[in-house]
């Protein structure tokens, strides 16, 4: 056993220096109390990783396109770079949030639904906002999202254990087109109604075809 005179403490043989004041103590011995060497955690973080690269390329592209847009505003005053930026952000999100991500399939579907919907609304706004995105695309997307989650749930046979929450979220998303019509933002009623009805039927189907686990699952998910 060694002693650190500076601190007045006995120090375990494994330490070359006092762990508190860093005073050199002498040799480094073996000890049953030793911790792992942590070399893996201490390895230098790489300066260039695929993720950092895509972050940089995306930001650079958005800034460059925005600059060109501003410089050429006298020729073409439309803010077209916003569309390009939205596309780039969508591509980034798809790469990291969907393709490379380990998150749940249901979550990816809902994230794609949200991202694609926003992208389409941006397109629509840029092309004069004739509301095609809210009237037709949003209902189709919510229909597709609900369908994708239902199919995945049936294929994986774990409807209630893994997918019920996502299906419920998809149901609420499917009410969105109808809600937009009611507040006057979209101008076509039947598409919104169709998407809401389809989602409702999915939920009803879930209840009818589910087994006794349903009650349990609802109780778990909704306990207050």
């Amino acid at each position: 056993m060694q002693r650190c005179d500076n601190c007045g403490l006995s120090v375990d043989n494994q330490h070359e220096r006092c762990p508190l004041c860093a005073k050199p103590l002498g040799g480094r011995g073996e000890s049953v109390l030793e911790y792992p060497p942590y070399a893996r955690l201490y390895r230098e973080e790489k300066a260039v990783t695929p993720r950092k690269l895509t972050v940089f390329v995306t930001i650079a592209a958005i800034i460059i396109v925005g600059t060109i847009n501003i410089l050429t505003a006298s020729e073409n005053p439309r803010p077209w770079s916003i569309v390009v930026a939205a596309c780039l952000l969508y591509a980034f999100m798809t790469l990291h949030g969907t393709i490379l991500s380990r998150s749940h399939f249901g979550r990816k579907v809902l994230e794609q639904f949200a991202a694609l919907s926003i992208l389409m609304v941006v397109f629509d706004l840029e092309s004069g906002f004739s509301r095609w995105s809210l009237n037709y695309v949003l209902p189709v997307f919510s229909f597709t999202a609900t369908l994708a989650i239902t199919v995945a749930a049936i294929a994986k046979r774990s409807l209630w254990r893994e997918y019920s929450g996502f299906l419920l979220a998809a149901f609420f998303a499917s009410l969105l087109p109808g809600a937009l019509y009611l507040i006057g933002l979209s101008s076509v009623a039947w598409t919104g109604a169709l998407s809401a009805v389809y989602s409702l039927l999915s939920i009803v189907g879930l209840m009818v075809f589910s087994d006794r686990k349903l009650k349990d699952e609802v109780r778990k998910r909704f306990h207050t």
Binding site: C7, H15, P19, S31, P37, R40
Partner: protein
Amino acid sequence: MRRWYRLDNAGKLYPAVATQRNSSVYRVSGVLKERIDASILQKAVDMVLPRFPMLAVRMRRGVFWHYFDANDRRLFVREDGDFPCYPIDPQAENGYLMKVLYYRCRVSVEIFHSVTDGSGAIEFLKSLLFYYLLFSGKEVRSEGLVRECDEAVSPSDVEDGFRRYYAEASIVPEARENAYIIRGTDFDVPGNNVVHGALSASGLNAVARRRGGTITAYLAAVLMRSIYQTRQSRGMDERPVVVAIPVNLRKLFPSRTLRNFYGVVNVEAGDLAVVDLDALVARVDASLREKTSAEALQGLITANVNLEARRAARIVPLFAKKLLIRLGNDLWGETKKTITLSNLGRIDLPSTMSEHVEQIECAAFPTPRSPINCGVCSLGDRLLITFTRAIEEADILQRFFSHLSREEGLDVFIYSNDWGGLRCKDATTVDSR
């Protein structure tokens, strides 16, 4: 057996506040007298885990709250390679919110605090070591001190003590001023440094008695003074030094629960410049006694449960709740204390076991506003004081341990994982083994 659990009152905090810098994962370890055999340890885990169903869980997201689902997958033991209290990624652990690690002679159990508190973790560690020793051919008997696997899991093991002892009453929490916050330099590579100080439990107890307090009160007082003495020259502000002390509620509110059942009391002692140590210990001891009386702790349980029991609070959706809990913790939790001192107390092992166990260690996780925290526990006469810190500065620890050694004449033996020290930096170039 129950297939799912609500989170208990204390456990609801951690999913909302846990981050990379606040892992909310603590560690309890047992150091044996010989090297750990991974396959035997795995066998012991497979044996013991079904006896602790409230630990064998995965966390899921409900609409209003998180909840625990029973997890039937296998929990694999792993060789330790991360720093203590490393954040747990459930996906990498087969869904579990805990890890069983080994390195040389040490078995470590790391648990996300939502699952259980230090007492629950110690019970698990005791049973794990018991079966490990049994399977490695040692003659060990439980002597009624270790939960064995042939006992049935009783409902009292999984009860929610907070709900059991909740007495509805309206309590207005006292307004407290913000506490002094320890600042320091982050390590080059962010991580936790642990420094353990081993000393004689009876020796420390004698010193504490002589100074007029319990071990916890005495250590809290020395901590306060160490913080004050090292930091006052470095432009310490006027805010009080507050030591947060988690209290095991099972002692006053009888329960055998293996889930969270603790309350935190904050102790401060006014102006540290004029108080001498004896007076300080007496003051801390008196304050601790007052705050851990049956009525005070009943009030604490009620106040804590009230926060979640209000109808309006219950129906806030989970994502919004998370924000509110985080905000509340920042405003009324983290800013009101300087350091946490968690004393798990004396750990009773059967004599047939303790001859194979060198010592038990426990490490409390640091947080950004509480970058140094302290865990204490003892086995036999060997008491371990463990500081876990996320900052380079060791001034407070040095003052603390030097006081015990120089002024009280206790023999303190220290060792560390050396995070941020030379050994770690060298390891990047040449792996010394």
